[in-house]
């Protein structure tokens, strides 16, 4: 039971090439994002250190460990821990990346999972209300839980 975000797209490359680009070249395509800064300071460059861990290295040479690699299957699957500076110690999240051949292309799917505690029994799907202020209690909550349901599996 976990809250989960899943994003997928296809790329024109083989799974092996996509995996290599995702890992060995992450520093070339990763775009620093204010919202998801790993540390409160200037963003650095991401890289996988061996097959051990994902790190961010800032201009001064300081290293922040984003997470340890737990699965490394070239061309197939990658799983790595994911921490941001704002997380409390208990807040462990994990990112899984899968690479599946689809004809000449590869479907790359990122699944970001966090906190094994979101209640599944309460996330039945319902429509989101047109106005957030539809009702103070029942309706708004049902809507929030429904929206949450899209992320929870």
């Amino acid at each position: 039971m976990a809250s989960r975000v899943m994003v997928a797209l296809r790329v024109r490359a083989t799974p092996a090439r996509a995996f290599e680009a995702f890992t060995a070249e992450i520093g070339q395509w990763w775009t620093p994002n204010d919202l998801f800064a790993f540390t409160p300071r200037e963003p650095g460059v991401l890289s996988f250190e061996g097959r051990e861990r994902l790190i961010e290295t800032r201009a001064g040479g300081k290293v922040f460990e984003i997470g340890r690699v737990t699965v490394w299957e070239p061309g197939v699957r990658l799983v790595v821990g994911w921490r941001q500076a704002s997380f409390t110690p208990e807040m462990a999240t994990e990112v899984e990346v899968t690479f599946e051949p689809v004809g000449e292309e590869t479907r790359v799917t990122v699944t970001h999972t966090g906190w094994d505690s979101v209640p599944r029994a309460h996330v039945a799907k319902h429509g989101f209300p047109e106005t957030a202020f539809l009702a103070r209690h029942g309706e708004w909550w049902r809507a929030l839980l429904g929206r949450l349901g899209e992320y929870v599996g």
Partner: protein, 110 residues
């Protein structure tokens, strides 16, 4: 509290099945602590502990209905759930943007 710590508190509060039952009951309407204890089949002290955890997480608040200031009822506050959803939505946006950058890189380097 940071946004991340708030999320953590929300999820910790929701992790308990009795507390989720309280949330379900309060979704229908505000209720008194005694009614909640009876509905959940818990003793008053046990319910009191759960309500304290829910109050501290900000998921519920204690208030009085307009007609009688002496009566104390519990009702839901949506803000903590909004923070959780915002985190999920921001994470989805982040990965959508990063994967688009990844695709551009792979196909250019081809």
């Amino acid at each position: 509290m940071t946004a991340a710590a708030r999320l953590d508190t929300t999820l910790a509060a929701l992790a308990d099945p009795h507390r989720r039952q309280v949330i379900e009951l309060l979704r229908e309407r505000p209720r008194r602590a005694g009614d909640l204890a009876r509905a959940a089949g818990l003793t008053a002290p046990a319910m009191s502990r759960h309500l304290r955890a829910l109050r501290q997480s900000g998921l519920v608040e204690e208030t009085s209905p307009d007609f009688d200031a002496r009566v104390r009822v519990y009702q839901l506050r949506p803000e903590p759930m909004v923070h959780l959803l915002r985190w999920l939505e921001e994470t989805e946006r982040l990965w959508t943007a990063q994967l688009a950058a990844f695709k551009a890189h792979v196909e250019k380097a081809g």
